[in-house]
Subunit: 409 residues, 2 copies
């Protein structure tokens, strides 16, 4: 079986869970449109739409490549002839949803991923699935999919661990490049090369509009502490106004913190980790802040188990930071602070759940989270650590493979 | 001035052109939301919305980073306090659009980029700008923006040429790696490294839903000819079902075509070029097909001048391919053929115009196009060439820097 091929039992289980959630939510069918969700529910990312009725067999309607979809997909594949004929095709394949050929159709509620589907594509699809027949609504089911994707199967956890192994090896292989006078970009290019030859697909997929992450963020000294549009604790200076985050052309110097917040995507699954390095030594307050970031991770590890509310872990980290006298520096500085400690990872890097205020939902076994306490010192740099964890039946297990501790060169 | 900083006169000219088009189209204001369009109309990609009235001063409403937006933006910057208060903020800043404080508001037509804006974000924004007041519509203005972005300024052409230079240097620096037994992925990783250290931001931005291009496609022999979801003449085998296009782990062999279709993004602007290489020699029919691809490019060069209809150039290439007896192999094979010869490039890789049937619009000075005739031989490989061109006042000028001709190693 090809690497990255999802076993058909795995797909069946996912479809079953989706159907159970749809019945609960009063949804008659799900129209899957996003390439990542298509991979999740069919095993294939070919271009088309997967139609999953609340009961009965799902079908992947494929525009191209049909040949490749047939080889990859764990659900039935058929050619999508035209968007104009899509309603008729659906009604004929799924009579239970559309009321059969009787012509009498009651209200049909079809859900889709309105959080990522562009507005005009949504409008076009809504028209196509209704086929001009009143009573068919295309509604938002994105929270349903994002919710069920929080729980990873053992196979998915294995993919995330494979990605963690690649990042660990790439970091180790690249550290010899990290010398005084090398630029952030040179070091990042080497890290990316080492991840790429090990199978990184080239970017970490994100769900959020306008968000781009190829391999994370590498920032040194003051450049790491520059605020940015990026909704994270350290955006970075970037390569200019057209790439205003992550790595810059700045030269790395002695005795300043170097934040290496990187990840990769292997077989579709991402890992996200941060280590802090220094050539020489850190000033005492920065070294202390780094030590505090490890303490916050230790505290989070003790709290992370099924039943703990996500916001309780965030609240604990705020308290820890305040206790250390570092409240103003925690997760960004001043008005640029971000309001979370960690986030789900999986097929995308901005998955649920989020360790943040307002997320009162409890952790569940199978969730995978990146926990990333960081402290920002404007003009001086960012220090911190980030590990990813699987929530187990009675606690959590680290998936990150790189050794902890400040990297001193 | 920092690299990638757009001169304020350049931004003013763009705003002026947008306003002229809005007046023509009966649009009262444009709400710019996409990061690429924000960069185009403000010079900054910070998170927020730019509001451009059909007459009067535009304002960039910024969520984060405000400090950075103030430094980067060529238009006025103000803090976006909350989406709930956005209507009141807009009405106060732009009384000419919203009917002043009189309370009597006539119909207001605000356009936005509905081709990329996710459906739920669109709905939230539509509610925010209407503020519950009847008569305010948020409509699709994406074709207006895509249309005006087809015409590049001399500064933009300079950015694209800088990207072309990087690709040419990276290709030259990487060819020593191309030996029998090396994998596609190893060669691609090296090409990407060479582009990255020269300033490639790490991906080539695309406008289409579900489309991902980091650095293009490198495919050898049969792997290049595998059909894919990608709407291009050669998708490639990829790394597995979760990355089912471009580079694979396949080992490159003697006497087979190696398609190197790569690009990069420098200061926000992309270049796109293809060269074909071989270790040893190509079979006669493949070598002939490659020669035909260069002939099609020569023919396109003669046709490309202001006034020529885009579809006429595509039609000419179809005729050339048929005349060579290669109609079935042109731009993909059989049912997987794509129906275009070239496409606009600029801030995104899938820009307008498209050299395809149905695109009867004439070329205009300032347009930049990638022209990519390719021939696919299932089980054997893909051969072809791709150059990018600027349409000048009386013809066209190649922006691609790499020498032409089959690369024989």
């Amino acid at each position: 079986m090809e690497i990255g091929t999802i076993a058909s039992e795995e797909v069946s289980a996912r479809i079953g869970r989706l159907q159970a959630r749809m019945l609960e939510a009063g949804i008659d069918a799900f129209l899957v449109t996003q390439h990542v969700d298509l991979y999740y529910f069919t095993g294939s990312m070919q271009a088309g739409y997967a139609f999953v009725p609340a009961a009965g067999e799902p079908v992947f309607y494929v525009r191209r490549s049909l040949e490749r979809a047939r080889r990859e997909s764990a659900i039935a594949v058929t050619a999508l002839t035209s968007l104009r004929g899509f309603r008729a095709q659906l009604a004929s394949d799924h009579p239970a949803v559309f009321g059969g050929g009787s012509g009498t159709v009651s209200a049909v509620n079809i859900a889709t991923e309105m959080d990522v589907l562009p507005a005009t594509t949504y409008a076009r699809l809504a028209e196509a699935v209704s086929g001009g027949v009143a009573g068919t609504a295309l509604t938002d089911g994105s929270s349903l999919v994002r919710g069920m994707r929080t729980i990873k199967s053992p196979w998915e956890v294995g993919r995330i661990e494979a990605a963690a192994q690649v990042v660990a090896e790439a970091l180790e292989a690249s550290l010899p490049v990290l010398k005084e006078g090398v630029s952030e970009l040179e070091l990042m290019a080497r890290l990316e090369y080492e991840m790429r030859i090990r199978g990184h697909i080239g970017l970490m997929r994100t769900r959020s509009y306008n968000m781009e992450i190829m391999t994370g963020m590498l920032g040194s000294g003051a450049a790491a502490a520059v605020p940015s549009a990026f909704d994270g604790p350290a955006g970075g200076l970037g390569l200019g106004p057209a790439a205003p985050q992550s790595t810059s052309r700045r030269t790395i110097r002695r005795d300043e913190p170097i934040l290496i917040d990187i990840g990769c995507c292997i077989d579709g699954y991402v890992i996200d980790q941060t280590r802090t390095a220094v050539i020489g030594s850190l000033a005492n307050d920065l070294a202390d802040a780094y030590a505090h970031s490890e303490r916050i991770v230790r505290h989070a590890e003790r709290l992370m188990r099924p039943g703990t509310a996500c916001d309780a872990i965030y609240a604990a980290s705020l308290k820890d930071a305040a206790h250390a006298g570092l409240a103003d520096h925690f997760m960004g500085f001043g008005s640029d602070q971000v309001k979370f400690l960690g986030h789900g990872i999986g097929l995308e890097v901005d998955e649920w759940p989020v360790l943040a205020r307002g997320f009162g939902n409890p952790l569940e076994p199978g969730m995978v989270l990146a926990v990333e306490p960081k402290f920002t010192f404007p003009g001086r740099g960012v220090v911190g650590i980030e590990n990813s964890y699987l929530i187990t039946d009675d606690g959590c297990r680290a998936l990150t493979k790189s050794p902890e501790g400040l990297i001193v060169l």
